[in-house]
């Protein structure tokens, strides 16, 4: 049986979603799939396009998993444009005249930016904002400009204004309507939004009708408005809405809307049942949906229809949105303007803290119809669900928007009121029912739930709600989520941390006597040692702490498989003098140690026996080294590239900053190991975005990334703050690390910690940057205490004769452990295998 031919024109976000969902279907093997992409690269995330200016690369924005097209045998035709459709013979013709046959054809051609027909609009400094190529053109033009204007004060226009601002231009927004975001936001919200955006240095001009663009006098261009006023600029960015890309459909005779758009039915079929249209090129019920979520729903419907699941229909989509524009939360739900018959509203305006909230309710005051939130949009998820599911309002609906004082909790909606069909995550179309099923199948953690259902993994706006649904379902199943660290303590690590702090507990014996039972174990003892060190920073071999330490912490070296240890001296920032290198080499030679360069830019010395450790440390200390804490759940290294001192691309002195950071946080005990890196420019040679704390220099200061990870489960770090000076950078890192130490579980790296944190990155940023919990200065003081009480543990040990007694293999003999045997390989020692040991014993 020959395969059916499926052709998809357009590999944007919606086209790619279609392919990904189609490929998951069993029936997909019965199709030969071809996709056209006129751009030079496959689908990428246009929603986060502005991130391209804050350091993300085209690869970072890609929506295509590595090997996707190859794995699914999809013929990807990059840089290739379909120019006509021959419907009679079912052929798509390409620009170079090739004819590609189809049985089913999907049009996912998207939209193009609308440029109003203003004389002068085609000047080279007039640009649009849609593709990565557009962004490159903006970047190049901006480099020669001082002033930039965005035409259009809608959602995309404000995004574009942020981009111009980030590029360092004096930025203006010109809007035809009397206010910003006229579609989503009412007059009150628009007014507040304007004042917030202006306070960030963007000039806003509303009610302006541009009539022509001419040569400027102080700048390259001059915009002339209908009211006679003028504005000079070097660059104009048009962001005045989108228009469907429907020319292919039009010339092939498909039914079109009067003002454009390819008409589709509930199955996303055009007037030709073998041709589908999805996303922003499709017109359903006279409407174009210019958001990605409805496009994704159409993609699913088209997949279902082609594979024969006829029950699936597109029935319109909710156009509620929540986004962050230049750091300002803006959300619009349902009937934001109160146009429903009899609609009434409640509003709350706080001009001091810049918050505007309005809810629109039904005439009987029972149901929510819409809402506008500016400045603070935390309860967007709750309000949206109330509106979508017709949940009855509380007795006093104003409570939903009034600030909560006196520690009173915000009125919860009660997630059990939501029907199973309620869509919790609109980005990935995950319903409450799907989340509950996953919990019934045994998931008890937010991170696992996100991985299994994809809920909360795109914009993250629903994470808190996803957590509530999970917890409610767990409670319903009678599953108590036990976070007890072990059988000796009925508490989580975070709770034990608080008990230690609040009750000023200084030893394990005191802690277990007051709050635990039994003798303790290899789980709770090292954890308590770490908490005591994070809080009070005593010497870890103090008699009452000694028995709590893992052998690595106890012997301040890393135990290897044969019971010997490896020793790693600290090399801050990876900078080392020739004398330092020679000294390490001399020690290694003297004690016959195997040497290897580590991934953290230092040198590991292997094969040391217990009795040799103090002797090795003594020599390293005399040469100016100290402990590298390679054995501790603590700061490991701060990796760096060579930075502006030597590198012709370097923006700032990354090595200097790395040394400063490493010396500040060395010895800090944490729930798990912590790795840093500092890169001197966005080329990112230090790989900072794979570290718990990553710092990247830009022309305007330091960008701070957090919660990255390499290793078993790689996680790309998240940008939490940009363009920082040295002092602010260190302040934020102080807060971040102490907050992590305070709240993480045992052996939980920052990456998993963040994935499990309710509210995610936004919440973390609020705590660290906006000090939303009011604990910023407390965290800084606690860090200052740890920094000020640092001691080199190796030195303290070498200088304490009673501690040194422990550093021998036998308590009653100076003999060595005869089971430790080395053989030579590539000019160095390595542990002998059991087989080699047997042969040697026989030979002796």
């Amino acid at each position: 049986m020959s395969k059916q031919k499926l052709v998809v024109i357009g590999n944007g976000m919606v086209g790619q979603k279609f392919l990904a969902q189609f490929a998951e279907q069993e029936q997909s093997i019965a199709f030969d799939i071809t996709t056209f992409c006129e751009e030079p690269r496959p689908a990428y995330d246009r929603v986060y396009l502005s991130a391209y200016f804050s350091g993300k690369t085209a690869e970072d924005l890609s929506l295509v998993p590595a090997g996707f097209f190859e794995t699914h045998n999809i013929n990807l035709r990059l840089n290739d444009k379909a120019v006509s459709i021959d419907r009679a013979n079912k052929l798509v013709e390409t620009a170079n005249g090739e004819k590609v046959p189809y049985d089913k054809l999907v049009l996912a051609t998207g939209s193009y930016p609308f440029v109003p027909p203003i004389p002068g609009k085609d000047r080279p400094e007039c640009l649009v904002y849609r593709t990565i190529e557009d962004l490159e053109a903006i970047k190049a033009t901006a480099a020669k400009s001082r002033v930039g204007v965005v035409v259009g004060g809608g959602l995309l226009g404000l995004e574009a204004a942020k981009a111009l601002k980030d590029l360092g231009l004096e930025t203006h927004v010109v809007e035809f309507a009397p206010r910003l975001m006229a579609v989503q936001v009412d007059e009150g919200g628009g007014k507040l939004l304007r004042s917030m955006i202006e306070s960030m240095g963007v000039k806003v001009h509303t009610g302006k009708n541009t009539q022509r663009i001419e040569d400027g006098s102080s700048s390259k261009l001059k915009m002339c408005f209908a009211d006679g006023s003028e504005l000079e600029t070097d660059l104009i960015l048009f962001s005045a809405g989108i228009r469907p890309r429907d020319e292919l459909a039009k010339q092939s005779g498909l039914t079109m809307g009067e003002r454009g758009g390819i008409t589709v039915n509930n199955f996303c079929q055009t007037s030709d049942p073998d041709i589908f249209a999805i996303g922003e090129c499709a017109l359903w019920n006279g409407r174009i949906f210019g958001l990605v979520a409805p496009g994704y729903q159409m993609a699913q419907v088209a997949v279902d229809t082609i594979t024969g699941k006829l029950a699936s229909e597109f029935k319109g989509a909710d156009m509620s949105t929540k986004l962050k524009l230049m750091g300002v939360d803006v959300a619009s739900i349902g009937d934001a303007h109160g146009t429903t018959l009899g609609a009434q509203s409640y509003s709350f305006v706080d001009e001091i803290n810049k918050v505007y909230k309005k809810i629109v309710v039904s005439s009987d005051n029972k149901y929510l119809l819409g809402a506008v939130l500016v400045g603070e949009a935390e309860n967007y998820g709750t309000l949206l669900q109330m509106m979508l599911n017709n949940i009855e309002l509380p007795e006093f609906p104003d409570m939903l928007i009034l600030p909560q004082r006196d520690g009173a909790a915000a009125p919860a909606m009660g997630v059990d009121k939501l029907p199973d069909a309620a869509q919790i995550c609109s980005c990935n179309n995950v319903s409450k029912g799907q989340i509950c099923c996953a919990v019934q199948d045994g998931i008890t953690e937010l991170s696992a739930l996100k991985a299994a259902t994809k809920a909360g993994t795109s914009c993250g706006g629903c994470t808190a709600l996803v957590g509530q649904v999970m917890n409610a379902e767990l409670a319903k199943l009678g599953i108590e989520v036990k976070k007890d660290v072990c059988e000796h303590f009925p508490y989580s690590r975070q709770e034990i941390y608080h008990l230690v702090r609040v009750n000023n507990i200084r030893s394990f014996d005191e802690l277990i006597a007051k709050f635990g039972k039994g003798k303790g174990c290899d789980i709770c003892k090292p954890m308590t040692a770490s908490i005591l060190a994070s809080c009070w920073n005593d010497f870890i071999l103090k008699t009452e702490h000694a028995g709590l330490q893992d052998t690595n912490d106890y012997f301040m070296a890393n135990m290897q498989k044969d019971g010997t240890y490896s020793v790693v001296p600290r090399v801050p920032g990876g900078e080392i003098t020739p004398d330092g290198l020679i000294a390490i080499g001399a020690v290694a030679k003297k004690f016959n140690l195997y040497t290897k360069i580590t991934g953290g830019q230092r040198i590991d010395l292997f094969g040391a026996q217990v009795h040799e450790l103090p002797l090795i440390w003594k020599e390293l200390i005399d040469a100016g080294f100290e402990s590298g804490h390679a054995y501790g759940k603590s700061l490991r290294t701060v990796k760096s590239c060579v930075g502006s001192t030597w590198c012709r691309y370097g923006m700032l002195d990354s090595v200097g900053m790395a040394i400063r950071l490493e010396n500040r946080y060395k010895g800090l005990r944490a729930p798990h190991k912590i790795k840093f890196a500092v890169s001197g420019c966005t080329r990112e040679c230090a790989e900072a975005q794979g570290k718990d704390v990553g710092v990247i220099a830009t022309e305007k200061g330091w960008n701070l990334y957090v919660c990255g990870n390499g290793g078993m489960k790689p996680r790309h770090a998240d940008l939490i703050a940009s363009d920082l000076d040295d002092a602010t950078l260190i302040q934020y890192i102080d807060r971040f690390l102490m907050f992590y130490i305070k709240t993480a579980d045992r052996l939980q790296r920052t990456s998993v910690w963040l994935d499990n944190l309710e509210g995610g990155l936004k919440y973390l940023a609020d705590v660290i940057i906006n000090d939303s919990l009011g604990i910023g200065s407390e965290l800084e003081q606690q860090m200052e205490h740890v920094v000020n009480t640092y001691q080199d543990e190796w030195r303290t040990t070498v200088e304490s004769p009673d501690k040194l007694k422990r550093f021998r293999h036998f308590v009653n003999s100076d003999a060595k452990d005869s089971n430790v045997v080395f053989v030579e390989e590539r000019g160095q020692i390595r542990p002998a295998t059991q087989e080699e040991k047997r042969i040697q014993l026989v030979a002796v």
Binding site: D522, G547, T551, M559, K805, H809, N819
Partner: protein
């Protein structure tokens, strides 16, 4: 009778050489013995087991963390974290048993009996 029995006890160190809730390793003939001092309600109990960890084949058990698990007084191997009952030598995770040795304090000296 007593004299014969005493011949089998080997003194290895002073009781003060043992720190609370920590182990040491003693060499007795060709054997390595891990000796632990475990504190309970203010009094000390001594335990002696073989120092050899059968899972890693390294002589490291004296360097493990001690405690209790499900009612057993145990040491956790510092390499792969198996737990061994200090009274019986039984591994809690696997069907393996390691040798245990009698241990006592005589006149301030710690003595073990290795058959």
């Amino acid at each position: 009778m007593n004299a014969i029995a005493d011949l089998n006890w080997t003194p290895v160190c002073n009781v003060d050489d043992l720190l609370p809730n920590l182990g040491v390793c003693a060499k007795v003939a060709d054997k390595q013995v891990a000796i632990f001092k475990i504190m309970e309600n203010g009094s000390a109990n001594l335990f002696a087991i073989d120092n050899h960890d059968p899972f890693s084949e390294a002589n490291v058990l004296s360097r493990g963390i001690v405690g209790d698990l499900k009612g057993h007084t145990v040491v956790a191997s510092p390499i792969y974290k198996h737990h061994f009952d200090l009274v019986t030598g039984q591994c809690l995770e696997d069907d393996v048993r390691i040798p245990v040795y009698p241990v006592r304090v005589q006149n301030g000296r710690v003595e073990v009996m290795v058959a």
